[in-house]
Symmetry: C2
């Protein structure tokens, strides 16, 4: 073998090494970067969202377009939907499976005597009590067998509107976070009253004397706190407006424990909306003649 | 140099080549796969969505949670929001910039004499006429200077609910697509009547004699068709319920041109919802005392 040949061989070898090393470095970088993205996604603490729901014309559109779209964009959500029904409906089952979200589908009917009667005021009897408790039962069982208590619990009613930033705020809670809610208590915004960054009361028009004058949509807690207080739940026999106070007291909380979120409670990130019942005058006339415009269709 | 040394050197060189080639192949595969994903996203035909909107308590929550979340998930949307106002509002400007969507923010006020008077029925005067026409004006100008007429035009009112599948259906339209709409015309579902897969009429309770008895949310057209008929627009002087018919006739269309979408018009992918006006009894009492619960807050 000639010396020149040797030199050429060594040069080629060095070249091959450089190419292989560069490729390998780039390859590894992509691999690690990709993995870190995946790791990051799996590292997000889960928000378990409990949503009580019931059958009505706008149920599908409310759950789909006000809730599931927000949850899909927020990511890291486990949706626990509890139907007020004696069975799981196909409508809700289909809807949940189409979201692509991790979810749990439950049901428990509210007995007739616990339901509001036509002559009673809308707030005379609390709604969603048994459904929220059923969600809590499932969640506690689930967490019992898991060794990850990094998550959060939030109650999201099925017709409210949720800003995506709300979920970022929930993920920085230590034990319990609280924030303003729009269109509740007959005012534009119900919100906590702050002094020196601490919550000292409630800026609400109705029943400000409550220990926690906060709407169901206005707080979230860590699941660790939930597990530390296995008895905390909702109760049908509380006076109107006292469900939130009863639950939060059950978690051993005081007003001073509340962590103000949403820029010191100056931002609205959740709206207590209701969908107008659709006008169905012509539908009812057709129904009397045996015709249904939604026959064979899921609305 | 010994022969064994040469053999070892050649083996190492071959090894280095194999490693470098494998790395390079994997690297290229990742690079090309990534690029193809990006290419795919940029290849989606744009859907230009025109949304007329007006100031009210639920404007932000409606636009954000019913529309922008759906559009973010659907992708390939250019949102044209036209305010019925004599200026662009900060609320809508902030909202749009936060969506991350490509958007165009316009405004045009409806003069007082064209607005519904308190004694008039809700349908006595058409709404959003000038705003939709302003959206059309902008879109035609935009398309004039673009050489891409692959897109679509859809009118999305600011409080309806949109299933994500609707946008997939719009993207397979040739000239004009049509589908059912829920909660409109006082029935559960207004929909086209089909015979042998062709549209032969309209299954609606109110004014079925219209050439196009379809709600604003029930059709979309290709932007090419729009550009071929530069005069097509909405008109304040049409009888109630005839805006859609007037616009579609302006595009030179006949009933037979309509392409039935949403599984031969058997699926509901859009709901004509309205948000209930919030109860603000206590707010009004506070306002009289000079207090506003939303002072300094954007609701």
């Amino acid at each position: 073998m000639h010396d020149e040949e040797m030199v050429g061989l060594r040069r080629k070898r060095r070249m091959a090494q450089v190419v292989s090393l560069t490729s390998a470095v780039i390859f590894l970088w992509i691999l690690l970067y990709g993995a870190s993205t995946v790791r990051h996604a799996s590292r997000i603490a889960l928000i378990y969202i409990v949503t009580p729901t019931y059958t009505r014309p706008s149920q599908k559109v409310d759950l789909t377009t006000r809730l599931s779209h927000a949850f899909q964009l927020a990511q890291g959500i486990h949706w626990i939907v509890v139907e007020d029904s004696d069975h799981k409906t196909t409508l809700v089952a289909n809807l949940l499976s189409r979201t692509g979200l991790p979810y749990t589908h439950l049901h428990i009917p509210t007995p007739g005597h616990m339901k509001r009667q036509p002559h009673e005021k809308p707030w005379a009897k609390p709604r969603g009590v048994l459904q929220r408790n059923e969600g809590l039962r499932w969640l506690r069982e689930e967490l019992q067998s898991s060794n990850n208590l990094d998550g959060f619990l939030y109650f999201a009613d099925d017709d409210n509107g949720y800003d995506l930033e709300l979920f970022d705020e929930i993920r920085i809670i230590k034990r319990v976070g609280v924030w303003p809610v729009a269109f509740v208590g007959e005012v534009m915004v119900e919100k906590p009253l702050l002094k020196d960054g601490k919550i000292v009361g409630w800026d609400v028009a109705i029943k400000p004397e409550r220990e926690f004058a906060v709407d169901m949509a206005g707080f979230a807690v860590s699941v660790k706190l939930l597990m530390d207080h296995p008895e905390a739940k909702f109760d049908f026999d509380q006076p109107p407006g006292y469900q939130e106070t009863y639950f939060l007291k059950g978690l051993g909380l005081k007003k001073e424990d509340m962590e103000p979120k949403a820029k010191n409670c100056t931002q609205v990130l959740v709206w207590h909306t209701k969908t107008k019942e659709p006008v169905l005058i012509q539908e009812k006339i057709l129904n009397r003649k045996g015709k249904h415009t939604d026959e064979g269709m899921e609305v």
